[in-house]
Symmetry: C2
Subunit: 174 residues, 2 copies
């Protein structure tokens, strides 16, 4: 499957509804339990996705497409959500993510990105030069990775309860 912006947007625009269907209204244990020490709960993951909408995906896209000479990406804070999510409910956060994503995709589509634009580059703090195509593909794969992570966190709550079936459910030991 070759990268195509419209097909990438098909995934990006679905993520908020997918996460709302999965999580909104669940009991606190499903939302707040994690995979063990130093791991994230579904609640933490939603906070991380919100922070990405605010500081990463569109910001870096605009930097790559800009006329600036310094296209070094600002660092992304992988732990910002622990402060930013304080006092919020999961429903509020799912709604915030939905609005941010919708707005970001509207701006993205307004840029009429060409095949040539997809080869433009920015400078990643670890990787050095990266293309817009790589950045946008990563946005999609990152969404899907976190949907899988949330599924895994919740499945693991039943790791012992499934008894012998654990051998048939590889997700429980990832």
């Amino acid at each position: 499957m070759l990268f195509n912006l419209n097909k990438a947007i098909e995934i990006l625009e679905r993520t908020p509804d997918t996460l709302t269907s999965m999580l909104d209204g669940l009991s606190d244990e499903w939302i707040n339990n994690n995979e063990g020490e130093e791991t994230w709960s579904p609640f933490d993951v939603i906070g991380h996705l919100i922070h990405g909408e605010k500081t990463d995906w569109l910001v870096r896209t605009e930097l790559i497409l800009s006329d600036k000479t310094d296209k070094k990406f600002p660092e992304f804070d992988r732990f910002a959500q622990f402060e930013e999510s304080k006092g919020k409910t999961l429903s509020q956060m799912l709604n915030e993510f939905k609005i941010l994503r919708k707005n970001n995709l509207e701006v993205l589509q307004s840029k009429n990105i060409t095949v040539e634009d997809l080869n433009k580059t920015g400078v990643h703090p670890t990787f050095g030069d990266v293309t817009l195509k790589q950045h946008l593909s990563t946005w999609v794969a990152h969404d899907l990775g976190h949907i899988a992570q949330i599924s895994r966190i919740m499945a693991k709550q039943y790791r012992d309860d499934v008894g012998p079936w654990r051998a048939f459910l590889p997700i429980l030991d990832r």
Copy 2:
């Protein structure tokens, strides 16, 4: 997190809407591509989930709760969907899954399963004696495992496009 039937149902009742949000209306490539030879596409996974609703989860629950002396589970056909899904669209299948799941959960709830019932057993073709609690926990973990699988299948379509980010996206190499 201790197994609790109502909390298990919270997940089971959400799965059809989650999958519909993720998949309904996507381009054919997202739906039909897989992870390589002898692997499943998102379309195949939905067919598998339908077959489970028809022949596994509720059927085995009823067998465990029944007065029959022979409680050996019938074998589950992991490949039935390749015949059964022929000629159907993904939208039709998502809808079929939704109806089957809704009906199955209504029947499940009508049984007023007690804590004592959860310890009743049936005979699994590979594992031997398994409890109703193990069976119902597995239903939940199985749903979540397949949501994670579908996310992974789709993410892998961009495995090369993400360039150096592959190192930061473990889902692409699972």
